[in-house]
Amino acid sequence: MSAYLPFLVFGITAGAVYGISAMGLVLTYKTSGLFNFGHGAVSAMAAFLFYSLHVEHGLPWPIAALIAVVGFGILIGVVLERVAAALAEVAITYKIVGTIGLLVGIRALIVLIYSEEARVFAPFLPQAKVFSIQGVSVNVENLITLGLGVAAAAGLFVLFRVTRLGIAVRAVVDDAALLDVTGEDPTRVRRRAWVLGSIFAAVSGVLFASVQQQVQVDVLSLLIVQAFGAAALARFSSLPGSFVGGLVIGMVQAVISKEATRMPALVGLDLNVPFLVLFVVLVVLPKGRLVELGRQVKARAVPPSRVPLRHRQVGVALALVFALVLPHIVGSRLPLWNTAMSEVVLFLSLGLLVRLSGQISLCHVGFAAAGAAAFGHILSWGVPWGVALLLAGLATVPVGALIAVPAIRLSGLYLGLATLGFGIFLAQFFYTKGYMFGVGQQLATPRPAGFTSDVKYYYVLLGLALVGTAVVLVVERSRLGRLLRGLGDAPVALSTLGANTNVTLVMVFCLSAVMAGVSGAAFAGLFGRVGGFSFPATQSLTLLAVLVVAGPRIISAAFVAPILLFVLPGYTDNPDIANGLQVAFGLTAVIVAAGSQGALDAWFGRLALQARERLVGPADRRINRPARRRSERAAELTASGVGGAR
């Protein structure tokens, strides 16, 4: 037992941090129905702010903490409440994309200010030993961290049961309109919840940096996924439960890392406990006990294109000509275009899932990685390149089928979370194993003989992208395509018409995995050798956001998205501009998500109307009643003798 103690002390401290983060996440999710994927980025921002104030500018830590936690927490909480309000009435895919936009945007902002490099962050809380259990010392920092967590959990528990704000927060979840009638402003209630949630995020960020003894943007942003696991244990609904969930995860991690010193097979598993927990809880928990919060909105159907067919044909022809001559006009930037071209099929496969069938995948990079690894192994057996590419795609089928299992049970947010957990687990546990990318992460993936130059390989990739496009076109027009659209629009109706939608789901996930696997293999061919580092699991989040920003049509989005992701930032050699682009992209994702149900059209419509009024005078006063000024109306009433004192 005593051998476990040092690990447990560390585990409980880390677990308390996860718990605090998870409570903030669940609090805001409960009150607004928006599950914030950017929660960890808020933590990271607060930690950097604290680092800046305390380490760089020498402010005493209590003052720095007050500014970074309370000041920043209030500020960002107010902003986030507005974002949540804008995302309240959109479909779940867009809610996810909107908060991914927050994650990407805030992360890029941090990199812009502080760079990606890790910085040493000496623990700021007193390290003095308080007492020791069987020779293992427990210091002030451990106690403060745990104490903060326990106090916060207990405080929230009491807040929810007893205080007026707590009751209002519970009411706002149940029926915001009804709460409004009672005289309590739902927006104000939500704002308080977001402020509180952001303060929790900030506290956990600062404490996590202290536990890790470093500030690094991605490590801190990933804290969110640890919190996901803790929140999953509390079914995304109980606040004290989330804290306990955090402690459990921290302790299990500690025990596994202890065991890993004896059993090499367990190495790396400790880091994966949260993701594994997230995946397993979502797959095992009875469906009725996982209730998705917030208004469930059906995504607006994509209207048919207004551009005449003839113009579209000319556009496609021009794009094809451009694609054919591209290697001869882009010069030294060709590798960028090659990367983009290799990812077209990946975006097509994601489009099949997201756009055609209404599913969500946050593990698409994992499919690509599996395909790339299989490709390398199959090539090493001497199989011809083209055949190996096809086999690599087929080898990805079991991975797709595995993900279809949660897809049968879950939808929307919880499917997204389950796939994210799976993808990160795949990355952190399997990528590093010898049987996946070989020893030393150096799996040979050469280009086909005779096509080794960048220009020639470009045409191979273009050919693949066109074949992928043809596959999507055929699927869209086939019975499978109609079934998939039916699945996306009204899955219950489809099943009562006699189609076994489980079969439909497994098929689309397998097809999508094949295409993603082929894309991963083609991507691996770019470099000649490949390792797991080329397939960061969190990139799956970015993929979904970029796909959605690239537009609602599967094929055009699949070509535009990789250009946005790889080519556009690659054309600048100034890293600040590249990061600025990412900030802009994050903001765009939020705006696109918020406008997905037509809110932007309405807004632009009003602007156009107002502009018209200014230019040519009011069209018809009666139609534009809300636009009229109160004084104007009063004057009118007085003139007609209806009101006003005489």
């Binding site: 209207p303 109609r482 629009d489 099943s495 018409l497 079969v503 439909t504």
Partner: protein, 276 residues
């Protein structure tokens, strides 16, 4: 307690849908409590009752969306109590929804065609991929026929999202008509329809039953429509069956009057008006 009236029905209890002692509980709430019901083919069976009587829950238990706590669901003589929704559809049971569940990203024609195609796809992966040549003509014929019957042929190339509620109801009806189901559950088919649309709807329903021998089980609030098209009625109140019989007998029943009395006496008047 009334039992299902199966004696007078051609084909006996094996014809159509037979519920025996159906109970559905949600936690502590008993939504449906001991419902016996028989909906045979060639007849319009109505299921009525005040709001919250358990009508839609009964429907959901029939089509497999809700698992009953007790009792059995038999379809054409086979026990389907634990069968999945698609398995029931394969045995000839189709349904519509109170809040229409249309495929908004497909054209009206594709919506209707999918009514037939979904059943052909079933559970076989290969049949999900593409239609067999032999099926294609049958699908087209069934689609054209259903569009024609429901009077929405001219809407075939529109999208459901652009249509009125009444038109959308007709699209949903055409979809199950194309599916060729022997028995249809229609959940409040006339809600949101105006008078002429409801009349048209009633004509289509009568045609389905009289000319094609389809069986219909209808949950409906429009008592005029209920009295005009239904041959037999079951009345639920608070999940319990309180009466069943021919429409005339239902209107005359004191039990039914008592159940509707107070807030919904207007419905009794509507019923009587519908009978004339």
């Amino acid at each position: 307690m009334t039992g299902p009236t199966t004696e007078a029905v051609p084909g006996g209890p094996d014809n159509g849908l037979l519920l025996s002692g159906l109970v559905v509980r949600f936690g502590g709430l008993v939504a449906v409590d001991g419902v016996n019901l028989h909906a045979p083919t060639g007849r319009v069976t109505g299921l009525i009752g005040p709001n919250g009587a358990g009508k839609t829950t009964t429907f959901n238990a029939c089509s497999g969306l809700v698992r009953p706590t007790a009792g059995s669901v038999r379809l054409f003589g086979q026990d389907v109590t634990s069968a999945s929704p698609p398995a029931r559809a394969q045995r000839g049971l189709g349904r519509t929804f109170q809040r229409m569940e249309l495929f908004d990203s497909l054209l009206v024609r594709e919506n209707v065609a999918l009514g037939r195609e979904a059943g052909l796809a079933g559970s076989r992966p290969w049949h999900h991929l593409r239609a067999r040549h032999a099926d294609r003509d049958a699908i087209r014929a069934a689609t054209d026929d259903a569009l024609e019957l429901c009077g929405i042929t001219e809407l075939a190339d529109r999208r459901p999202a652009d249509l009125s509620t009444g038109q959308r109801r007709l699209v949903e009806l055409a979809r199950v008509v194309a599916g060729g189901f022997r028995l249809l559950l229609l959940d409040e088919p006339s809600s949101g329809l105006d008078h002429s649309e409801t009349d048209r709807f009633g004509d289509v329903l009568r045609h389905l039953v009289d000319e094609r021998g389809t069986g219909l089980l209808i949950v409906e609030h429009d008592m005029g429509l209920v009295m005009r098209v239904c041959d037999y009625l079951y009345v639920l109140d608070f999940g319990r069956p309180i009466f069943d019989g021919e429409p005339e007998a239902v209107v005359a029943s004191d039990v039914v009057r008592a159940a509707y009395l107070g807030d919904e006496t207007a419905e009794i008047e509507e019923m009587e008006a519908g009978l004339v």
